[in-house]
Amino acid sequence: EADIYQTPRYLVIGTGKKITLECSQTMGHDKMYWYQQDPGMELHLIHYSYGVNSTEKGDLSSESTVSRIRTEHFPLTLESARPSHTSQYLCASSDYRGGTNTGELFFGEGSRLTVL
């Protein structure tokens, strides 16, 4: 059973508000990811991290920012939310150390953001 948690699950806010989506994992994984997915569409990687103090932008340009101060925590922040940010945001983690480890991605249940 995956131990990766996202909060809030659902958030409805007004334009211009600052929001932070939380993601925490208790598996000690080094690698963490944020994906953005609109209903019925594919997942787009927007941020990833290979460890503490490491963050990179993904394939899809995003106005959001992330931080990785602790291994288990990878929050995503939008300084000023807009309707175009309405989407589902999925956090994932993985750990690959070779051998029989599959490097499997473990996903949280997602945070569905609606910006009015």
Binding site: K31, Y33, Y35, P39, E42, L43, L45, Y48, Y50, E56, G58, D59, Q88, L90, A92, S94, Y96, T102, G103, E104, L105, F106, F107, G108, E109, G110, R112
Partner: protein, 111 residues
């Protein structure tokens, strides 16, 4: 990063075997092939992973030819609950390589 190509959608009936093929022509020597399943409003979940030949677990089989430029996920005797989107992923996220999903295959199982 290896790009993957899958059919956009497939239809099947309960009890049938379903085979979904993924093309990955520029797969790297160290890349593994992993398949994920995603239900609406949930994150994807791991189904199966392989490097070459055939891998089987309790839910699926994965066939990989010798040239590794494609792979086929086989779901035996599907049920309505197998209706989902299936993604093929190539790579392992080792080193500094990120994991990017393709468009996926939307499988619809009919009664």
């Amino acid at each position: 990063l290896a790009k993957t190509t899958q059919p956009i959608s497939m239809d099947s009936y309960e009890g049938q075997e379903v085979n979904i093929t993924c093309s990955h022509n520029n797969i790297a020597t160290n890349d593994y092939i992993t398949w994920y399943q995603q239900f609406p409003s949930q994150g994807p979940r791991f189904i199966i992973q392989g490097y070459k030949t055939k891998v089987t677990n309790e839910v699926a089989s994965l066939f990989i030819p010798a040239d590794r430029k494609s792979s086929t996920l086989s779901l035996p005797r599907v049920s309505l609950s197998d209706t989902a989107v299936y993604y093929c992923l190539v790579g392992l996220g080792t080193g500094r390589r990120a994991l990017t999903f393709g468009s996926g295959t939307r499988l619809q199982v009919q009664p």
